[in-house]
């Protein structure tokens, strides 16, 4: 091919231009010696495919950072779908039924609850706010679920509830970071990055870690919640969209045909290959691999991100409308991605911050509308995974970054126009389902007001430890060396929640 030869000779000229007399003289000395030594050191010259023959003993990972690795022990789960309700839903309206709280409705909050506490917005002595939902027990497990989630109440036997979760961050950004990266400060890798780093990915034509957002905004903490921190950046989440181009900048620019693109990539790769042969830097091979992967993804990503071809009953099950940016569409996509061998899928749905400052942010109206948007899709996701047998080895996690207070919010000491609750760190509910999780379990009990956990409290680190365990990792041994010390997702804490492990 004429053009390619031109490119390569240009490369050659470029290199020569950077050569000076000094380089030449130095090379004369060192290379002659090197020539004599090379066979002794490496035993052979660097080969065409860059493998085996290099003598550099490159592992598969050096060439392809997403190459699969076996887990330390055979975990029950092979992939995770994490549904994060950004803004923090109220456990007191959804899962944590507190009849005693109803009796205290509109009375002053007892001093004992406020002593030594800090809240994001509550000042002085707020009023108690009784549950605004009607609760009943469901399924064989008798789990309490409110009328805000009528569809979900039919699938409760698939999930295990964590009802006494607690965190130590009461602002959205840090709390989201803490929930996703194990640290409220920037710079740590997210759960999804850790898992992708540890296991690589099954389908080499798709990213290993995909992020989908809905609700109109991305989480307050920004993209760091799916960032790779100090891990190599290939392990960060790839944000895909259910509306428009699934991945930005993946589509060929207009006027660029796929054949032309292929030629460009193979020419670049060949030039890189030549470079590798003279320099021997494995980073170059990794780059060659990434170009090829991107090329393959161009075909496969739009295919898997297209929900139009799903049968009608599936659309009805999820309540999906192709072309929208919605939680429902994202749930369906999550199933499709996991089915195709994607390791981690993260869904962020924004709009759960119900302070009662306006109608959308009210506990009795806005929250109901929000629940309507997720109730059917998340229940459908569980059922769809179940009927395909995917729930056997897929973990599904649901929750916010903290909980909400049993007190009515009184921002600036004033009663709000709508019913709302403030941020609360001491007690909230999450649930997990699927691979290796004990179905129908409920762990953790809160006090009569749902203010604090009184038994079986679960920290964010405990949750992470358990999720890693289910994926086949010992959270205490899964480390990455950075700045001179090994780091863990769970820092120096975390106990397995054995009672929710099947």
């Amino acid at each position: 091919m004429k053009n390619l030869e031109k490119l390569l000779s240009e490369l050659q000229v470029q290199k020569l231009q950077t050569q000076t007399r000094r380089h030449f003289l130095r090379d004369c000395v060192s290379k002659v010696g090197g020539l004599a030594l090379a066979p002794l050191l490496f035993g052979c010259e660097i080969g065409k495919d860059g493998q085996a023959k290099t003598g550099l003993n490159l592992s598969e990972r050096d060439l392809n950072p997403l190459a699969p690795l076996p887990p330390p022990f055979a975990g029950k789960a092979k992939s995770i779908i994490y549904l994060h309700m950004a803004g923090a839903p109220s456990q007191l309206e959804l899962f944590d039924f507190k009849p005693e709280l109803a009796k205290l409705h509109d009375q002053d909050c007892p001093e004992s609850l406020l002593e030594g506490r800090k809240f994001a917005f509550i000042r002085g002595v707020p009023k108690m706010l009784g549950p605004q939902a009607t609760f009943s027990q469901h399924g064989q497990s008798g789990a309490w679920v409110s009328d805000y989630l009528p569809h979900f109440s039919k699938v409760v036997d698939e999930v295990a509830f964590l009802k006494a979760m607690h965190t130590d961050q009461f602002n959205h950004g840090p709390a989201q970071l803490f929930m996703q990266t194990g640290s409220p400060r920037l710079g740590r890798p997210s759960l999804g990055s850790w898992v992708t780093y540890g296991l690589g990915t099954v389908n080499q034509n798709l990213p290993g870690f995909v992020v989908l957002t809905s609700g109109g905004k991305t989480p307050d903490a920004g993209k760091s919640v799916w960032g790779s921190g100090f891990l190599p950046s290939v392990y960060q989440g790839v944000q895909c969209r259910s509306k428009g181009d699934p991945v930005l900048y993946l589509e060929d620019p207009s006027g660029m045909s796929r054949d032309l693109k292929k030629n460009v990539i193979s020419a670049i790769n060949q030039a890189n290959q030549e470079d590798f042969e003279s320099i021997g830097d494995p980073e170059i091979l990794a780059r060659i691999n990434q170009f090829e992967m991107a090329y393959r993804m161009q075909i496969e990503v739009p295919e898997v991100m297209n929900i139009n071809d799903e049968p009608e009953y599936i659309h009805q099950l999820y309540g999906t409308q192709p072309g929208e940016e919605s939680f429902a569409n994202n749930c369906l996509l999550a199933r499709k991605l996991v089915e195709k061998g994607v390791r981690v899928v993260q869904l962020y749905d924004w709009g759960w911050d119900t302070h009662g400052t306006d109608k959308d942010g009210s506990i009795d109206m806005g929250l109901r509308n929000k629940c309507r948007q997720i109730d059917r899709p998340m229940s459908a996701l569980l059922l769809d995974l179940k009927q395909r047998g995917l729930l056997e080895d897929t973990l599904v996690v649901w929750g916010g970054e903290f909980g909400r207070t049993p007190m009515q919010e009184n921002r600036e000491g004033k009663v709000q126009g709508f019913k709302g609750r403030d941020h609360h760190t001491d007690a909230f509910t999450m649930w997990v389902a699927g691979g290796g999780v004990r179905k129908g379990a409920s762990y953790g009990i809160t006090d009569d007001f749902g203010f604090s956990g009184v038994d079986e409290r679960t920290s964010v680190h405990d949750l992470h430890a358990t999720l890693l365990h289910l994926m086949g990792f010992d959270h205490e041994k899964f480390t990455y060396d950075f700045q001179g010390r090994p780091f863990r997702l769970t820092d120096v804490e975390g106990e397995l929640i054995r009672k929710i492990i099947a």
């Binding site: 598969e60 699969p68 690795l69 076996p70 887990p71 330390p72 022990f73 055979a74 975990g75 009328d147 009528p150 569809h151 039919k154 099954v202 389908n203 080499q204 034509n205 009953y313 009805q316 099950l317 309540g319 195709k340 061998g341 109608k359 009795d364 109206m365 806005g366 109901r368 509308n369 309507r372 059917r376 229940s379 459908a380 059922l383 769809d384 179940k386 009927q387 395909r388 047998g389 056997e392 038994d455 079986e456 086949g472 054995r498």
Partner: protein, 460 residues
């Protein structure tokens, strides 16, 4: 003198001990740097031994005070103490010898070497007291530890069998292991926090500085239990709040043992405890998911070949020989490609051929996988006619036939398979078939619906 001075000075011992070590070593190094007949350093060396000896006195005194006020037993510190005195005395003796002459006395290098040995050995014994005798052993690999005669992993808490636990001795199998794991580091024969030793039943009966800690039959009155249930912030709470805290099951087990009388003879079965309390400590005898047979791991070359052929191929975990193989990026795989998988016949435990070109013929080949545990044939042309072939895969547990042409009657061919637990037939003629039938495995037909509700469309 004011009372706090002695204990306070005692606590400076860990710092003070470094003085004689540093000063004496400095002197000794100078000794070894000096040539015979050359005495340029002599004055400095003399001074080093003098100051070293004085620092030795300070160390010994503070060490003795620490022993007196910090709950160490004499047995555990005596050798360290005497060696410390010996080191101090030797330093003074060498100082004295140097003082007499203008040149080095005879055998001075040998004597200095002996002093180094004394210093090192004294220091090592001291380290053993503060850090525990296994301090230097712990970082070694388990194999090397055993070689040196140390037991590994002894303090891991109770371990109970799922069956027959009722007959086990309550104290020996439950209480002592809990104490070993959580309390022994501070309450043992050497480290006597609160003058309490919890390393054996006899020692426990001795009680601590406030007397007996066990009153059989009454848990609330026994400090052994009462301290565990104090609020974590209380300074009498045990274990101290920065240490691993007891799980509520462990506390309950201590309570029930005291309630039972607090004796060594009692059996676990006699106590008033629920099985759930014991469950966290039971060794899960749950059968492993993959076969227990042993096969040699696949050669690296063969594994590499599978990958270059286009398969996803990886062992199920780092230690295991069982192989997961998937065609997720190899959609063109067809019956004839089976030869590529043959070298791994013994190792393949998980095979995913979903979305490939395979037909019923493939089942004849699959038959030859003795350890196959999970088989996925979703979205293929499998008609269901040859399913009976899978009866020859004795280890098969989960079978996926979603979106194939299998029908309900055909699944009868899998009836009474020895291990088959779950069969998935979502979106097949079988899933649409309402006629039912009883199967020896769980049949997942799917077709889940969430019927519309009136509330679905309400917007507030």
């Amino acid at each position: 003198m004011i009372q706090f001075v002695f204990p306070l000075f005692g606590r400076f011992h860990p710092i003070l001990v470094h003085l004689p070590i540093g000063i004496l070593l400095f002197g000794i190094i100078l000794v070894f740097l000096s040539r015979k007949g050359q005495n340029t350093h002599l004055a400095s060396i003399r001074l080093a031994f003098l100051f070293g000896g004085m620092a030795g006195v300070l160390s010994s005194v503070s060490g003795f005070l620490q022993y007196r006020y910090e709950g160490f037993t004499w047995d555990s510190v005596q050798f360290h103490f005497f060696l410390g005195l010996a080191t101090t005395a030797t330093a003074f003796w060498l100082y004295y010898e140097l003082g007499k002459k203008e040149d080095f006395p005879s055998f001075f290098k040998a004597k200095s070497a002996a002093l180094v040995a004394l210093l090192m050995f004294t220091g090592h014994l001291g380290g053993n007291i503060t850090h525990g005798e296994t301090y230097l052993i712990e970082p070694l690999p388990a194999g090397m530890q055993q070689l040196l005669g140390y037991e590994t992993g002894e303090n891991t808490g109770p371990k109970l069998p799922a069956e027959g636990w009722e007959e086990l001795a309550y104290y020996e199998h439950v209480v002592q292991p809990i104490l070993n794991q959580n309390c022994k580091s501070c309450h043992n024969a050497k480290n006597h926090k609160g003058e309490l030793d919890l390393s054996s039943y006899e020692a426990l009966l001795q009680g601590g500085e406030d007397g007996s800690i066990l009153s059989g039959g009454d848990a609330e009155a026994s400090a052994l239990f009462a301290r565990l249930v104090l609020p974590k912030e209380d300074e009498d709470h045990m274990p101290p709040k920065d240490k691993r805290q007891l799980q509520k099951e462990e506390i309950e087990l201590i309570r029930a043992w005291i309630a039972l009388g607090g004796k060594t003879e009692s059996k676990l079965g006699e106590a008033d405890i629920s099985v759930e309390t014991l469950e966290p400590f039971m060794e899960k005898t749950e059968a492993p998911f993959y076969p227990s047979a042993e096969v040699p791991p696949l050669a690296d070359e063969t594994l590499k070949k599978l990958k270059t052929d286009g398969f996803f191929a990886e062992t199920v975990d780092k230690e295991s020989a069982w192989l997961m193989v998937s065609c997720v990026n190899y959609g063109q795989f067809a019956d004839a490609d089976w030869t590529k998988l043959k070298p791994a016949s013994d190792q393949i435990a998980y095979l995913d051929l979903s979305g490939t070109q395979v037909t019923d013929q493939i089942l004849d080949s699959i038959q030859s996988l003795p350890n196959l545990t999970v088989l996925k044939l979703n979205e293929t042309d499998i008609s269901g006619e040859k399913l009976s072939a899978l009866q020859s895969n004795p280890n098969l547990k989960n079978l996926y036939l979603n979106k194939t042409q299998v029908s309900l009657p055909q699944l009868k061919a899998l009836q009474n398979h020895p291990n088959l637990a779950k069969v998935f037939v979502f979106d097949t003629p079988a899933s649409a078939d309402e006629s039912g039938g009883v199967f020896s495995f769980l049949l997942e037909k799917g077709n889940y619906r969430l019927p519309p509700l009136p509330t679905d469309t309400i917007v507030y």
